[in-house]
């Protein structure tokens, strides 16, 4: 594995994604794939993407990208009536925040996390920002697919 990050580190993010979906929906999310982006296998970007910037003993970003329809369905599962664009963006940021924050159980407080940056994105956005040797976790919940991209390096 690259970047001083091992399989156990990446499994932390898989667990965080699974835990988020299960807690919110009481349904298991399907992990369709988890792989290193060697050879330019960065996944397509979905409608809404949020990222958390890492600092402290780690640098990089954690991305969560999902279609609007999936985020709207998640909001419905949470009992949220407001499913306008602002709330969809907010929810996407909260998912990225929760996945990254939960990973600190494994990485510790020296992995500092920023507030989320969230935006509507086109299909190639991740390809333009994700560096080589990042980790991709593809998930499926109901009929929807989403991706988590982990670009993380230990600096000490």
């Amino acid at each position: 594995m690259n970047n001083n990050i091992d399989e156990k580190d990446i499994l932390t993010f898989v667990d965080a994604v699974s835990g988020f979906f299960f807690q919110v929906t009481q349904e298991k999310v399907e992990i369709k794939a988890a792989y290193l982006t060697e050879g330019g296998m960065v996944p397509s970007t979905y409608d809404l993407t949020s990222y958390i910037t890492l600092s402290g003993d780690y640098v990089g970003r954690i991305y969560f990208s999902a279609p609007r329809s999936m985020v709207a369905h998640l909001l419905m599962a949470m009992g949220e009536q407001n499913r306008l664009e602002d709330r969809l963006l907010d929810a996407t940021g909260e998912i990225a925040n929760t996945i990254s924050g939960n990973a600190r159980k494994h990485f510790g407080e020296t992995m500092e996390v920023s507030v989320p940056t969230t935006q509507a994105t086109d299909a190639n956005w991740l390809k333009s920002v994700v560096p080589p040797h990042s980790y991709v976790i593809l998930v499926k919940w109901k009929q929807y697919r989403a991706s988590v991209v982990v670009d993380i390096q230990r600096v000490v």
């Binding site: 835990g19 807690q23 709330r87 907010d90 925040n97 924050g101 600190r104 507030v115």
Partner: protein, 122 residues
């Protein structure tokens, strides 16, 4: 009992507010909702709530500093930290600054109700 909800996510503020519709929590009334620590301090001084839910990762002032300031102003305030930061050190830091409880995100409705009931029980 007045509650101030502090979280930079409108979704979480809305969710906490909605969970308060549960009849077991009918003594708690939302006095205000703030989206960062600075706004929270202003609202705290305005309403002097007995109860606060506090996010940690927020712009302008984080929840740890905000907790410390609120406890300085009102030492008997019950602050429940609600955060995705799942490392033990962060929870301990919040408790050392005066928070009375810590709830990890993602949380269920029942998790939050139980935390409120524990904090507000005599």
């Amino acid at each position: 009992m007045k509650l101030l909800i502090v979280d930079d996510s409108a979704l979480i503020r809305s969710r906490i507010s909605r969970i308060l519709d549960d009849p077991r929590l009918n003594l708690i009334q939302v006095a205000g909702m703030a989206k960062n620590g600075m706004e929270a301090i202003t609202m705290f001084l305005q309403h002097m709530p007995e109860l606060v839910t506090m996010d940690i990762t927020m712009p302008e002032m984080d929840g740890i500093d905000c907790t410390e300031k609120m406890i300085t102003i009102r030492p008997d305030c019950n602050i429940l930290v609600i955060s995705a930061l799942s490392d033990k050190a962060t929870a301990l830091k919040a408790l050392k600054k005066g928070a009375r409880g810590f709830l990890y995100k993602p949380f269920s409705d029942e998790d939050l109700i139980a935390a409120f009931l524990e904090l507000t029980s005599p």
